[in-house]
């Protein structure tokens, strides 16, 4: 449709008006499109190179051809047979999933309470939570580490997850979205005899579903790619998440770039696939979270 429009417009401009200005404008529009498109292709080249090299035999790695002459999945079987990547993948999946569920649940809970309840201390709590946005994670890793050490949380899933089970950003985002839920709806539910928890869960939550999904994407991506805290809190290779595991694996195999690319592909493909499937939705969510948050 869009393509046809451009084509029709282009032909009508050049054929009928015959003015050089119009054709120059079309030429400009085409150059703009071509440059943007080439730039976009360039942007994904690192990902393409990663995938293509992960499908190559070692002898072919140093060729620049994008399509392997002899494609092989040997690197994948080699890396996965080792067993560690299964472990790391599983660890990342569990940690990111549980953290996402927890953060979305609690951020919505707190955001709703701060938005819809009137109680003394409401403003103070809101400001206190908002102010934690100013504190960088890197400042907290040392106290968190000391805490984990004394409570025995080092090298456990809970240890990796606990800093992220609630987020100030998500709370703020959800509060903004609950503002759009009319109080009349909640009042009607109250008259129907629902208690406040049921009103939140059954009436308000379904109305902010897009925001919940956007938050979930952000939290999941953040936890899936998180590096510094899992690096600090895990000691044994069994407990590594994918980024930490990949980092140690890369060091270990040193110059076997086809294996490193395979590991990199394993750790980044899931989020890429999710993006390609839910593309429109994710971009809308990112804009929503970026602008409101």
């Amino acid at each position: 449709m869009a393509a046809q429009d451009v084509a029709i417009k282009a032909s009508s401009d050049t054929l009928f008006s015959g003015s050089s200005r119009a054709s120059r404008r079309n030429m400009g529009q085409f150059i703009r499109w071509a440059l943007l498109f080439s730039g976009g292709v360039l942007m994904v080249m690192p990902i393409v190179f990663m995938l293509s090299t992960s499908l190559k035999f070692p002898f072919e790695v140093y060729n620049l051809n994008l399509i392997p002459e002899e494609p092989t999945i040997e690197n994948y079987t080699y890396v996965l047979e080792d067993g560690r990547f299964y472990h790391w993948f599983w660890n990342s999946l569990i940690v990111a999933t549980l953290t996402t569920i927890s953060a979305v649940f609690f951020d919505a809970l707190v955001g709703y309470a701060l938005c819809k309840f009137r109680f003394p201390g409401r403003y103070l709590i809101f400001i206190a939570i908002l102010s934690t946005l100013m504190i960088p994670t890197e400042m907290l890793v040392i106290p968190w580490y000391l805490m984990s050490k004394s409570f025995g949380w080092l090298d456990t899933y809970w240890g990796i997850m606990f800093p992220g089970i609630m987020t100030a950003f998500g709370t703020f985002l959800m509060k903004q979205f609950f503002e759009t839920v009319p109080d009349d709806f909640l009042e009607a539910a109250r008259i129907d005899g629902l208690n406040e928890f049921q009103i939140w869960w059954q009436v308000a939550m379904p109305l902010v579903r897009p925001a919940l999904a956007a938050l979930a994407i952000f939290v999941f991506l953040g936890n899936w790619t998180a590096f510094i805290w899992p690096l600090i809190v895990t000691n044994s290779a069994d407990m590594y998440t994918l980024p930490v595991g990949l980092s140690s694996f890369g060091d270990e195999v040193d110059v076997a770039w086809e294996l490193i690319m395979t590991g990199a592909a394993i750790s980044t493909l899931p989020t890429l696939v999710v993006f390609l499937v839910f593309q429109r939705f994710i971009i809308r969510g990112v804009v929503m979270a970026g602008l409101k948050g």
Binding site: V6, R32, W33, L36, F37, G39, G40, M43, P46, I47, F49, V61, L64, F106, L109, A113, F117, R118, F119, P120, I129, T132, M134, P136, E138, L140, I142, P143, W144, Y145, L146, M147, I165, M166, T171, E196, F197, W200, T225, F227, I228, I232, L242, P243, S247, G250, V255, W257, I260, M261, G263, A264, S267, T268, T271, L272, V274, I283, V286, G290
Partner: protein, 319 residues
């Protein structure tokens, strides 16, 4: 049906209320008092979380920065020793400079690039969604994974992609990660690359929010597109620009994943030329076990980020 059984059970409920003091207490409250009870039921656990996992550690980091502790022995009060030591440490100043280099190079380059892309992409209809996806895709990658990909790109001939390209066109080799001058921009490049898509998306949302009538008025007045860009588009995009400047500045000041993974053989090297503040903190705390000194470094990071955020608030208020 349901209602009937509900009625049948009602007396038993009443009995329970009468026996249960807490329930009776709740039912005697006014509506606004009930709201307070519910609010605290909602907030009890989260408030505990924010106190224990956010505020207490923050205070702890400040306290620790005035102490001397190697994790094994006793914590002893050290006054401003850690800060004095920081001030006299040439490595710290090197790291401080590096951290600001990431910011000074990273923020303008990524902002200008993403604005140019967004500005033009906004005017393109054909394959708009596809092109946008191409630019956005790197944002969805894992920084660690892509750091290793870029690290491979930067290797010398015959391994690295960049140098292979240069060689095939007959250009001389470039030392990327092994040179003290080239290493920092080389490490920065994947960070800019990965964040570009996000900025393009946010810029495009900002461009869409500008009312078309402004542009129509300008067209009727016969204003050149260059003037429209500088007099209408950019001034109206100010909130978006401020948001992105702060968001990306904070990101570049906190750079870690890329540096750590592209220089694992000598983190922050060569000769500390790529070491950012966060890597110094990590090193001091978890390789040197110098907890007090590392905490003082985190306080410096906190202060820098606070200043950046305050400047943002200031600019937004002046709007």
């Amino acid at each position: 049906m349901r209602r009937a059984s509900g009625f049948a059970r009602a007396p038993r409920h009443l009995e329970v209320w009468q026996r249960n003091g807490a329930m009776r207490f709740y039912h005697n409250l006014t509506i606004s008092q009930k709201q307070i009870v519910w609010a605290w039921a909602f907030l009890a656990l989260p408030v505990l979380f924010y106190v224990v996992i956010r505020f207490y550690p923050t205070a702890n980091a400040f306290v620790l920065s005035f102490q001397e502790w190697n994790l094994l022995g006793a914590r002893s009060f050290a006054g401003f020793d850690n800060y004095v030591r920081l001030y006299n440490d040439p490595v710290f100043w090197k790291v401080f400079r590096n951290t600001f280099m990431y910011l000074i190079l990273g923020t303008p380059i990524s902002l200008v690039l993403s604005f140019v892309i967004a500005y033009h992409l906004d005017k393109v209809r054909f394959m708009h969604g596809t092109i946008r996806a191409l630019y956005f895709l790197p944002f969805m990658t894992s920084a660690v994974a892509m750091a290793w990909v870029w690290r491979w790109f930067y290797q010398p001939v015959p391994i690295g992609v960049f140098n292979n390209f240069l060689a095939s066109f007959g250009f001389s080799q470039i030392q990327f990660l092994s040179s003290t001058t080239n290493a920092l921009p080389s490490v920065l490049a994947p960070a800019i690359w990965a964040g570009l898509g996000f900025q393009v998306i946010i810029f495009m949302a900002g461009l869409r929010a500008i009312p078309q009538s402004y542009y129509e008025a300008a067209r009727i007045d016969g204003v050149s597109s260059w003037t429209v860009l500088w007099e209408i588009t950019i001034p109206l995009l100010k909130p978006t620009i401020v948001f992105l400047v702060v968001f990306s500045s904070i990101g570049f000041l906190r750079i870690f994943d890329q540096v750590y993974n592209m220089t694992t053989n000598n983190p922050g090297g060569p000769l500390n030329s790529t070491k950012p503040l966060v890597l110094l903190i990590y090193d001091t705390a978890f390789n040197g076990f110098n907890m007090g000194y590392a905490a003082a470094q985190t306080v410096v990071l906190f202060t820098i980020l606070l200043i950046v955020s305050l400047i943002q608030l200031r600019i937004l208020r002046d709007r």
